[in-house]
């Protein structure tokens, strides 16, 4: 099941690169290309780590810590 989910993630990213990323950067807009690439890379890394059951730190913990500094629900 894990391999299937990993395959789905990789297939999704390949489809996004082929059908959306490449047409978007064809007009040579460097800024769009960079922003798109960075977001694609970061999200891909997080998702691949998730599919391999590697725990990625969640912002929920940081937010909870920040809120509980001022107010304990």
């Amino acid at each position: 099941m894990r391999r299937l989910v990993t395959f789905i993630v990789i297939a999704l990213y390949l489809a996004v690169i082929f059908f959306d990323f490449i047409p978007s950067i064809k007009n040579g807009d460097k800024k769009t290309c960079w922003v798109y690439s960075v977001l694609l890379a970061v999200s891909f890394c997080v998702l691949i780590l998730y599919t391999f059951d590697i725990v990625v730190p969640s912002p929920t913990g940081l937010i909870r810590h920040l809120v509980e500094t001022f107010y304990k629900p």
Binding site: S24, V35, F44, V46, L47
Partner: protein
Amino acid sequence: MNSKYITMRQAICIIVVYICGSSVVLGGNSEAGQDSWISMLLAQIIVIPMVLVYARIMKLFPEKNIYEVVEILFGKIIGKIVTLLMLWYAIHLAALVLRNFSEFIEITSLPETPQLPLMIIMILVIVYVAKSGAEVLGKWALVSLFIIVFIMSLTIVLLLNQVSFDNFLPMMNHSTKTILTGSYELFTFPFAETVLFLAMADYVRKEDSPVRIYVWGETLGALILLIVALRNIAALGPAMLKAEYFPSYAAARIISVSDFLARIEGSISTNFILGGITKISVCILAASKGLSSLFNIQNYKKMIFPVSLCVLALCSILYRNTMEMINFLKIYAVYAIPFQIIIPVAIWVGGEIRKSIKAKATETSA
């Protein structure tokens, strides 16, 4: 034919479906038990001033979205910081709602299916809606609202033989603090989340009244949620209401008419999907516009896919389990304050000061 603008009716429908979003299935605050309908009414009253602030911002800066407004008011550097904060809020909220959806599907229908493929399917539909533009989103919201109201009405009629008005008693059994806390939590989730609609303010014509859009949207949305809350209390009772993660689903599950009409709780899933798609689409549109404003990218539609994939990645790592998701609601009530109250009030005050300075300058020159 896609025009840039949405009609007032479409804007109202977007806000109504946005408010219903996940709340129509998650239900209102259940800590107050049989008094949660009172919390809902109070929440609607306390959100009105905030909604008027949002509408006033749209009135002061017609056909400009919140990112353009903060740059006009606060300059480039502070404007970019505020844009980054609102961008983060939009992405985080989209991830929260998407996670609500996948948890709901896992608990109610597909416990053996991994959540990630469910999230991917949902996000692909949302990307399609978002890329189609605001006018398509408006038309989609119009149709969704009709279906949501129809399904809600159907469940109420079919539950008439199961409800007990004794479930509302004893009234005001909970302390004032519990009821007020419930009202505040409803204020932050979902009413004041309509702050993100300010990112779509450039789709609203300056001739259309933002006050009418916001007040009608909030009132109709609150009315739907109030009816849902009343139905859930009457059907489930306070004990089951507190025990269930998804009270609307639980209420629909007990529908049974003459032994031939039962198991129609799938209709509640329909409401969640329709509301969820609209809510997440608005959040992703807001985030894409924020990102394009931050990096001065002309066409925000190019950012929809990367933003959606970031939402997907964030959604998968947000919580370890459903309990964490439910417990986060209490933290969210405080965490949302800067995005729903502080930043909009600062923008409003800045806008009023700018308007009065301009008026004085006009008087002086005249």
